[in-house]
Amino acid sequence: MMISLDFLKKTDVFKDMNDDRLRAVLNCAELVQFKKDERIFTHGADATHVWILREGAVELRSEPSGKNVSGQVPAVSFTSEAQAFGWTCFVPPYKYRLSGYCASEQCKVIKFKREDLLRLFESDKTTGFQVMLYLLGAVGRQFLQLQDEIARKRGIEVMSRW
């Protein structure tokens, strides 16, 4: 199965780019295949790639190494095509915050090497700016969710003292 420009246009992150820019993005892409329960990347490992689901299902699981940390994002199943994950490769400390597993009989995933994308962004700042703006929204939403969760928990503690 090839990766087409039309497929990239379905993704939230690349949907507003013109064909020339999409072709440049495509040059950084590689299609890989996994079998059920195979691990795609590991929670806590260096985040070296961004991933987009092409076919099948991927489940993201929180697996901190023997440590129960509040605010972990619960497991999320990706059942539809064109969803992207692994954006933490652009955000300190550049580690995966979840593990990714193939959750269907097989799945096909497009992987983009972080370094290749950074090189592309440096050579075409318009693409870089568009991706960073998308990323600010995606990472920002996770940040605000965690902030809300902590505020709710602490608010209950404060009010219980009244």
Binding site: S70, K125, F129, L136, I150, E157, V158, M159
Partner: protein, 250 residues
């Protein structure tokens, strides 16, 4: 050019060239607040990105039918830090409320629409700003995760008294040394806040240490080196530093 030097000190903007910074300079307005005043409210339409120029800003969650207090502070930000970054992404609303936590604060407000317009028209500058901002947010995210289980009633509280007299005597340097030492040590159970003058101006800068189930200790005539000593000896090892003490303890 009123804001050029400040913008150069801010992580989010420091990679820009002078001519780019001068454009952003034109989107800026300076504003002063006094202790307890609110800069913006949770849920307000976020028309500005803010830079702390001077003082300390608390980001707090609001509680129903209650005045704001330190107990609802999720994070405190000092000079050269950005607040209100949610102004740049939909739905362009502030999350949390921001309050002036020192005697006075000076902040610079950057018009969101003009900044976004400039970045759209100058993607080279936009890429640099957003890449740097993502690093700032990533680092804050990690700190927030580390403190997720922290109680608002931390077992250790340190108050640096930052009244005008305290600041004149060097309280700001002490606050900076303390925050850096906490970051270096990885301690997440120490709650730091800025307090007002305690009426002992002759002994400023003063610092109060409160450890759960112990009498508070007020230290006097502090400086950065003494603060680091108190951090290591008292906060970490539990040994009150008698020779620096103004009152309290035992």
């Amino acid at each position: 050019m009123a804001y050029l030097e400040l913008l150069k000190r801010v992580d989010t903007f420091c990679a820009l060239r002078d001519e780019e910074l001068l454009v952003i300079d034109g989107f800026c307005t300076r504003k002063k607040f006094i202790h307890g005043h609110r800069l913006f409210k949770d849920g307000d339409s976020a028309a500005y990105l803010w830079v702390v120029e001077d003082g300390l800003i608390d980001l707090r969650f609001d509680l129903p039918d209650s005045d704001t207090s330190d107990e609802s502070t999720l994070s405190s930000l000092s000079e050269n830090n950005i607040i209100g970054w949610s102004s740049l992404v939909p739905p362009h609303r502030y999350k949390l409320s921001a309050y002036c936590a020192s005697d006075e604060c000076t902040v610079v407000m950057i018009e969101r629409d003009r900044l976004l317009g400039f970045m759209n028209d100058n993607p080279d500058a936009g890429y640099k700003v957003l890449s740097a901002l993502l690093k700032v947010i990533g680092n804050r995210f990690e700190r927030l995760r580390e403190t997720a289980d922290e109680s608002p009633f931390s077992p250790v509280r340190v108050t640096v008294h930052m009244g005008t007299c305290g600041i004149a005597a060097g309280a700001r340097e002490i606050m900076k040394a303390l925050i850096e030492e906490i970051a270096r040590s990885g301690q997440s159970r120490i709650n730091v806040s800025a307090g007002g003058c305690i009426g002992r101006c002759a002994s400023e800068p003063n610092v109060t240490v409160e450890i759960q189930n112990e009498k508070p200790v007020i230290y006097q005539k502090m400086d950065s080196a003494k603060m680091i000593r108190v951090f290591n000896q008292h906060l970490i090892s539990g040994r009150v530093q008698d020779d620096l003490m103004l009152e309290g303890g035992r």
